[in-house]
Symmetry: C2
């Protein structure tokens, strides 16, 4: 966060509140601009990953489900899904995408307030990069308590290379006529975290000459190193199955922008 005087309009009370409505429109531009995979490709990886699972993966909980793009992919592939997100604004978008039948929970990690067990828990949007080390460890504990024996935990994080690729004053921007956005990335001096400043202009009325409302969100994103992840997993009994290169079935290496991690709860 900056030390500028906050105002109602320009500083959102919670991340994603001001950008939820327009989020999906800039999704592809931003996702590919950051070197991430699109939801369809991620879902293909997931179904490939658990295709030989026994018992099969039927129920899936998504952490930080956002507007529900991945949940929709999984519903279309026949899964029973539950979504969790800390942003009510994003869940409103997810609800209108998914209809009334998909359970959606508003909760902030590490809190996972569910009373069932899942075949898989996923978080495929670099969302764990928003967590501090302590929050990450607590989230792993919550996940372990939420999986059925033998269940899978699959998530991605920005790798050190991915973090660095966002630095150096890098900017993504786009103009969609009735809305425009600027994403500016500023790395910390040690390169292990960055602040993303998300500036958005949304037209107030339908006619082309109407003025625009501006919003600004500041997102602090942390580096999540392999040691931190493995320590969190060890502490709650999750067993590492692999670290893949951005939703492709090859091992992660130094050039990997996004690491796809797979853990399994013993048993079954």
């Amino acid at each position: 966060m900056t030390d500028r005087t906050p105002t109602v309009q320009t500083i959102a009370p919670q991340p994603y509140t001001t950008v939820a409505e327009t989020y999906d429109r800039l999704g592809e531009l931003v996702t590919t601009g950051l070197g991430e995979k699109l939801h369809h490709d991620k879902a293909d990886f997931l179904t490939g990953l658990w295709s030989d699972s026994a018992p099969p993966v039927e129920s899936v909980l998504e952490l930080a489900c956002g507007t529900g793009l991945m949940l929709q992919e999984l519903v279309e592939r026949g899964h029973r899904v539950v979504g969790l997100d800390r942003s009510e604004a994003m869940l409103t978008q997810a609800r209108s995408r998914l209809g009334p039948d998909v359970p959606l929970l508003c909760a902030t990690l590490p809190d996972i307030p569910v009373d069932q067990h899942f075949d898989a828990v996923i978080s495929p949007g670099a969302s764990l990069n928003y967590l501090t080390e302590t929050e990450l460890a607590a989230t792993f504990r919550s996940v372990a308590a939420t999986l059925r024996p033998g269940g899978l935990f699959v998530f991605d994080v920005l790798s050190p290379a991915g973090m660095g690729g966002r630095g150096g004053g890098r900017v993504l921007a786009g103009d969609f006529d009735d809305m425009a956005f600027i994403l500016a990335f500023a790395n910390s001096p040690d390169g292990d975290s960055y602040e993303m400043t998300w500036t958005q202009f949304v037209r107030m009325e339908s006619e082309a000459a109407a003025p625009y409302l501006k919003s600004v969100e500041h997102h602090q994103v942390y580096g999540v190193g392999p040691e931190t992840i493995r320590a969190s997993a060890d502490a709650c009994g999750l067993v590492e199955q692999g670290v893949y290169d951005n939703y492709v079935f090859r091992p992660s290496d130094d050039a990997t922008l996004v690491q796809t991690w797979v853990f399994r709860l013993p048993g079954a």
Copy 2:
């Protein structure tokens, strides 16, 4: 220009009309982002170039002077200057920078409506890249008619490397709180021209929560090859003195982003 329906607010009647007031604020960010030199460095090159000129270079006409940043540098170095620009909005900014004593002319190249001769004519802002081949040749004729015998014509153009460097969906953007801009560059398929789309949001009132007005300008920028430049010079008797690498006294080469050309009118 695009074929979208123009509206009063979003399509400017003439390039630089909507961006004139805020132009200098984004100057440094954009100039260095595009690999161009700042005005102070350009002025140092010019005064170095003509330091051994006899008779000395005293009077200077700048073509496409914009908001007058270079004119101010030259005034501070003791030159008598005249500025020409096609944009009244930009000249309004130049007038408030330079005060009432510097002659400023509103005219569109190749028209140079002056009744005096100059020791030097300059155009140091890649402005000739806005001209078609025919307009460029006519501008050279106007310049030759405006120089005193022995006078110098110094200008820069984006090189092929400089043109390519703007392509591939490249974007520059910045948020200055009460205004924000997005510059998006789209190359032509042959890489020899590009369209720059200049989107700007300016806050309508001083308070932070006030809405913003949006403007969009589309600038068509052409490649200007060495053959075209040399043919234009030959046709009006201007003699090439050198092609330098972006305001440094070394020859231009294939990696040069901005070529600084120097011509001389024979005589004196």
